[in-house]
Symmetry: C2
Subunit: 187 residues, 2 copies
Amino acid sequence: MKRPVTSRAEQRQRTETRILTAARRLFAENGYDRTTIRAIAATAGSDPGLVMRYFGSKEKLFAQAATIRADGPITGSPEQLAELLATALGEKLADEPAAALAALRSMFTHPEAGLEVRTAMSGQQQQVASLMPGEDAVLRAGLIGALTVGVVIGRHLLQLDGLRDASPEEITALLQPLISDLVQGRS
Amino acid sequence: MKRPVTSRAEQRQRTETRILTAARRLFAENGYDRTTIRAIAATAGSDPGLVMRYFGSKEKLFAQAATIRADGPITGSPEQLAELLATALGEKLADEPAAALAALRSMFTHPEAGLEVRTAMSGQQQQVASLMPGEDAVLRAGLIGALTVGVVIGRHLLQLDGLRDASPEEITALLQPLISDLVQGRS
DNA sequence: GTCTATAAAGTGATAGAC
DNA sequence: GTCTATCACTTTATAGAC
């Protein structure tokens, strides 16, 4: 008897990733509540029962699908910091990170998603603030965070007029000096 | 027979506003999908049947509850414009406009709410851009809009670290020069 | 192991009793 | 006019047939 090119375990993991990819896309497009297990299974070419069997619950599936990958560690002088933050923003604008978008779209209506986003941002902000001078460093770091989410959701989720079509470079070129001002504490 | 101090029509309109207020609060707190007619009725001390009778459908109730009041007309020189935008932002930070927050919280998961926010912002942005110099005025106006929503949701909805506690004046003081840069096109 | 059938719960909306 | 009772539907989750 010839071994199949794809073993049982391989096949299983393959459909598992297919389900996860489908879930990510649908969660990013429609949010947690409006995405049904049925729709995910259909998109993945699979079955609702299997989705439950593999991931346990809709909640657990979402947790895996909407995990935000943290940016690399942040260090350097204030001048370097501004440039670092601007390029990190540029990356978030260039590609469409489905997992992060899934979390972002659901953050206002699904408590778990809100927590995910808040903790991810909180960690980042503390790091950033510790590298910044001034009494109000935490506030200024928060404003950088707010600016970042504002631009990301303005482009990917709300599709605001000017933001949708502009190139990432164009946007970061405009924003880097502003971020630099916030980092240095000039006002 | 003595006339009651509150007539039939008065009484009716009174409960109608009570329902509307409750709806605004719950929509702002939990979003469209997770807010039920039943919960609105209970909060308003009324009845689900009456809510339907008065407003026709959940959709129509939401439309009335989540209407964004546009800012006053925007005019003036670029210098004035930056100040105007900063103070308008300050107002949005000082009080908690329940109707706008209801629309904002649901904008990613409820298409109607998304449209409401998008059209409100689009109108504002076009006005602002028309008063700004430079080729990329539309993009820069969009960035001002993104910054504004970012800060508003960062404070009221996400409750980001530095933003939650800072005073509106502190925030606008930091942001006005940045807005001014975007308006003038310095970068 | 994969999928069908169904259970259990909750929703918006409606009809009709008081 | 106000509210109770219920309909029709959809959801996640489960149990069991193949």
